[in-house]
Symmetry: C2
Subunit: 546 residues, 2 copies
Amino acid sequence: MKTKIIESADNAYQYPLLIKNLLLSGKRYQPTQEIVYSDLFRYDYRTLYQRICKLAHVLTDAGVGAGDTVAVMDWDSHRYLEAYFAVPMIGAILHHVNIRLSPDQISYTMNHAEDSLVLVHDDFVAIAEQLTEQLPCVRGYIQLTDEAKPVATSLNTFGDYEALLEKASDHYKFPDFDENSVATLFYTTGTTGNPKGVYFSHRQLVLHTINGAATLGLYDGQPLLRSEDVYMPMTPMFHVHAWGVPYIATMLGVKQVYPGRYEPNKLVKLYRDEKVTFSHGVPTVLQMILNCAEAETTDMTGWKMVTGGSAPTLALAQQMADKGILFHTAYGMSETCPLLTLTYLNPSEQALDMNDQLALRIKTGIPNAMVDLRVADPSGNDVPHDGESVGEVVVRAPWLTQGYYKEPEKGAELWQNGWLHTGDVASIDEAGVLQIKDRIKDVIKTGGEWISSIELESLISQHPQVAEVAVIGIPDEKWGERAYALIVPVSGQTVDAGALQAHLMQFVESGRINKWAIPEKISVVSEIPKTSVGKLNKKLIRMQVS
Amino acid sequence: MKTKIIESADNAYQYPLLIKNLLLSGKRYQPTQEIVYSDLFRYDYRTLYQRICKLAHVLTDAGVGAGDTVAVMDWDSHRYLEAYFAVPMIGAILHHVNIRLSPDQISYTMNHAEDSLVLVHDDFVAIAEQLTEQLPCVRGYIQLTDEAKPVATSLNTFGDYEALLEKASDHYKFPDFDENSVATLFYTTGTTGNPKGVYFSHRQLVLHTINGAATLGLYDGQPLLRSEDVYMPMTPMFHVHAWGVPYIATMLGVKQVYPGRYEPNKLVKLYRDEKVTFSHGVPTVLQMILNCAEAETTDMTGWKMVTGGSAPTLALAQQMADKGILFHTAYGMSETCPLLTLTYLNPSEQALDMNDQLALRIKTGIPNAMVDLRVADPSGNDVPHDGESVGEVVVRAPWLTQGYYKEPEKGAELWQNGWLHTGDVASIDEAGVLQIKDRIKDVIKTGGEWISSIELESLISQHPQVAEVAVIGIPDEKWGERAYALIVPVSGQTVDAGALQAHLMQFVESGRINKWAIPEKISVVSEIPKTSVGKLNKKLIRMQVS
């Protein structure tokens, strides 16, 4: 198409979308709002900007140049926030090291990312020492400490972060460069193979931030992060930019509280003492928060909370509602920066009794502005928006990883026909509300239909004699795949395949599942294989069956 | 700088920022919210999208291709809104014709823009007929009417807008193209020369919209446009995209009310009947609203209002406050899309009595997110942020015109050293609040300082014998320029230069002005030249003096 392309006058500034520009507004709107680090440290937005300038000097003095990668190994901290800005702002790449990985995996990711400098908190010095010989790319370390002095170490360090900042100038002229420059890099782990690197440019992060600000703050029926809120993350900063909220919060200039290492009682105490109003966390963390001792004596009324990462149960939703927490569910993944969808309640849904809202609040909601999201059948066509038909979630947005770092073949699997394939199976209803059902690899593709293994497991588990169940798809010449179920009966009882098939027939009759969804083969076993974190190990089950 | 540029996997989608993507969210979030046209027409967001598809078919059927320009001559209407989207979405350029210009100027702009198709409302058919012979580029017209049938005309028309839409398909596959494609074009008039065209790309408008949404909605101390608001413009849609708010409102999916031709009583009635909560208008329009008959019987409490275009007086602010209107001031210009700054009240200022807020609410506030704004002295250095020192406002933002259409020399004057020079003189205070003082061409540059002619006029006018005053700068060998004042004494009284100089000395003594700001030459006259709209005609005064 021959559109008219914009012409620029001599000396016109072609504004690139760079992370530095997100820092313009926070200190203008709310210069005296605070950044708080646990119960250790606090300062205002003017100081934040000065410290980012100082860190930029420290990094360049340590030899970091444009295109270099800087790793951070830290809990959630004000220093991490400073690195979120200073590292990309000098044209370098911030690698958020996932400190929960095994030492081997950490070393793999740090070599793959070619980290040249590492900012390492005292708590991770031991592991850094253990790995340093395997990391020829690393030229040195900067130590982060919460004590008067960092721990003694054999690492080749440039010194202590605070001491280095102390000496540096608080002015830095941040350069302009291509908005498509890589700003951040981190790794996502699947069940197989090495961790894969996803990467995001300045342009992508700026767009994720300003669009996320508009989406999070403007709808009465959504999580609300606005100027007078107080933000504390409970999804780690090494995990998908802490869902991107630190950038949004900083752009707005809201008060931010970084809790260090996550300890439930400390998180609740910080919530209470710092008057936190907005947080996010995976269901497991929220469960820990609700169950800790401090929670018993803490009023959590009005705490706005976004959950995601895995589906919250209705029971968790009920517990949160009982504490007065206003919770919402988000959907996204490492590959998507991550924000894609959020619970949204329209005015009539907002008017419902909270108990009646719970089923809505654990849905993943509708796509954010600028997000083009489809649920596609195996031929790539949209499934009907009936809340029942399932397909794969495929997506376009201005902030999706453009591939896997240095692995073009894997990137080409992620991106098919110009759509990022999430690997998630979902339905979408008439109102556009997305409901994630399963991972596509756990879906049973039978007779041209997709059957959710999770749904089948849920239906089978309703049989009174069933204690545990796992469903997988096994190859079938006629149907493509058929469902296969492993059953552990309730202790001291027995159950047979015929009884279970009869049990499932009632759901066929009520129209909930198709007849061919009923597993032809059902094995009664004494134990079902699990992964190290207690999830059904379907990979192993498949291997054992084939 | 050698940063690492992002690499894209095969088939990865490189999302261009296109206006079509602003339409994704409104109909998802609030499908049943309404678009209202005066008391004539209303429909919901699903219909809006269908009508935009239909209009795209009508335009392409009429031969409009990518890169062509389509003109609209209409009051504020739902059809104008449809054109805001459909025209750029097919890769064409929307020319918002300023129907307040003289016929000669309209014809100049339409030829300069090379309009190929014109959407013309009944009210402008007569002028279109008068001009059509002078517009060889125009291949045809589409008529817009509020009646059963459009007015009879000798114009070469394709037919009636509604009849054409009726027949068109409500599906259209909008193409992707370069985000730097020109989307909109309109003309700004100065006091001399022909109108100048400013132009904005898809990328610029998308960024203006999502950033504007975040800025307008997220700060408690700012005008708040959020999901449950009802929007009605009172700045015409042909004037700088109605300040960009129709795009923001549509992205959010809020109810929108388009009032047609501005008639104060009708505007107030629509405000009341449609429960409008958010509007914007220049001070003159607001004054008309306050003074009309409907206003007397209408409760305006809580109506959020942004004013701009020229400085509101404290008296207007007081009148608005007396009616319960929550008003704010914005700053921007045709060249800037337009949003640059907005009144912002911090929490302690919000807590003040409304009467004490007025002086703050008529300031132009602080720059929006992503806006890099400086007040620079003649050497290009930042003036002190003391609320007193004045300089020219220079700016960078992702949505500034990159020049004047087909006039590169004028564009090079606008853009100097990579900063857009607004031609406005302002001070900025410690809190970053901008206060526009004057147009730079009306500033007196004397002894290396800038003196605001408006401020001098205000001080001189405080002398009891002065009825009218105009101050200009006249060349001076030693000082560069010196102030020169023309005075009209109060009827039946006299005043001499010495008395006025003595009067001004008190302001020198109080530190308000420098001694060299006192005009050396003061002429007492019986009349001061005015422009056709009653403003001081400083251009004529300068010519008469030189």
